[in-house]
Symmetry: C2
Subunit: 302 residues, 2 copies
């Protein structure tokens, strides 16, 4: 039996539109209603035929849903949740797809009524593309989806959301929201922050032209530009709402980078080689656990 | 007519063995002699049949060459060059594949005899793999190869090296060695340093386990681990021999990252969004110029 029969998705960007496609593909009998605040996006979603109904307001999209998923930037969650609070059917489950969880859990809890179950979720999947055309049904296949319900959350609601994501192809973990935010600060937020930063630094060099930076980017830089092409508003919100964890790991990173800088300045080759050897082991772990292929993609062909 | 007929390659790692394979594939009539200081590598190269002759000493490998290419870590160049100085035929051309050029040009000039032509080269190509098994003949196809001869270099020798790399599939640029080192500090050396550093930082977290870092690496971190799996000795030498340029761009990067850190601490969303929007344009430039594909590889499937 399907965990939910009437699903509503608010926000039809990369993640929301991938979710819609995945629901259509994996649970075709689900009645699917979607909404996006942007009129042009709604029109595009209609053209792409991604849902049974494209509602013109968020409230209208949720009135008979048994699962509502908010797939909007993290700092927009509270406002969207407040706008649908009066329209939510009693007993419905509210989830989301935000990359930060403690603030979202707190924001949703503040504005949503008693009688709905809040089960925050973070599918650890995405690309550097944005918008409804960028989504695809298999985005969540074999990826992790982390649920961060409050300790007091309804156990059955959590299990239904777990079943929902499992049917979409994801592997579900349940985790404390604060711990999630620290783990993702390391594995996702800091890498994005650094990628954005280095692309900015490279663009601002006076002695090296932008066209040279682009021309010789295959030596490593282009991989950073891919990450730094991700959605600006989504990432602005991630950094602002996971501030403490991001600043903590950023401080550690800066210390480590400063130690490297010192080793270079003083010609400490042993220090450098020891670190560079140690980091190889981490790569092996990632490949061994199927989180990336072993193909030499860094030197990829065109 | 081929630019060279007797080519010698010293060092049979990823780059040297790719060169050997490419010479075999694109200039099959060239007599190819190779050498590696590591006995096991020489045996492997013999098994793989990558050259006409695998010499047991560097000197023996070069005695009748008209082109000698040193494909060894940057700080090993001088010693290797000194060891073959007495065996080099008059009129032969010496080149290399090092990622740093000013120090290599200086080192080679110091130990090589009059009567040989020095034409340093840097093929901007590679993968995160190492060793003779990692090489492939098409590594240089469509990639840049930067030549950095001294102003006093023999023009004909430079043209012959240009022709050599062009036949291997590369597009050749000629550049001042110091400028090369600054360009590559931005596009390659700093990205590698940061990737090594962040992988080290993530491994050292107490509140997040290594297995969690690996498990949730698809959110951005895994791309850094790929770069940070590159050859430790090669990269140690790059940082030590391009110290000034690396420290210069690293200082700029740290300033920019500190500004981002401050924006996060003070909740300056406009600052963040403006940078994140600007960096997208750089990505578009790289895709438009064919230095990477537009495929959403960041969310790659397995």
């Amino acid at each position: 039996m399907l965990p939910f029969s009437r699903v509503s998705i608010i926000g039809m960007g990369l993640i929301g539109s991938s979710l819609a496609r995945a629901v259509r593909a994996k649970m075709p009998t689900v009645a699917l209603t979607v909404h996006d605040a942007d009129h042009a996006v709604r029109e595009r979603v209609r053209d792409l035929d991604l849902a049974d109904d494209v509602a013109d307001t968020a409230g209208a999209a949720v009135i008979d849903a048994d699962l509502v998923i908010l797939a909007v930037p993290v700092l927009a969650m509270m406002k969207v949740a407040a706008s649908i609070a009066d329209d939510l059917p009693a007993g419905c489950v509210i989830s989301d797809t935000g990359s930060v969880k403690a603030s979202v859990l707190s924001d949703l809890s503040e504005v949503l009524p008693e009688g709905v179950s809040i089960v925050p979720a973070h599918p650890v999947a995405g690309t550097e593309k944005s918008g409804p055309d960028a989504g695809f049904a298999t985005l969540f296949d074999g990826r992790w989806c982390i649920l961060t319900p409050a300790a007091s959350a309804d156990v059955l609601a959590v299990e239904r959301v777990r079943e929902f994501w499992t049917r979409l192809g994801a592997t579900v973990e349940v985790m404390d929201a604060a711990h999630h935010d620290m783990v993702l600060a390391v594995t996702s937020h800091l890498p994005h922050l650094i990628a954005y930063s280095i692309v900015g630094t490279a663009s601002d060099m006076e002695s090296v032209t932008s066209s040279e930076v682009i021309k010789y980017s295959a030596g490593g830089f282009r991989d950073f530009t891919r990450i730094a092409a991700s959605d600006p508003v989504m990432w602005r919100d991630v950094f602002l709402s996971n501030k403490d964890a991001v600043l903590d790991v950023l401080q550690r990173f800066t210390e480590d980078l400063t130690a490297l800088q010192r080793a270079i300045r003083w010609g400490d080759g042993e220090f450098l080689e020891a670190l560079f050897t140690r980091t190889r082991a981490v790569r092996r772990g990632i490949v061994d656990q199927g989180q990336d292929t072993d193909a030499a993609d860094f030197g990829r062909k065109h």
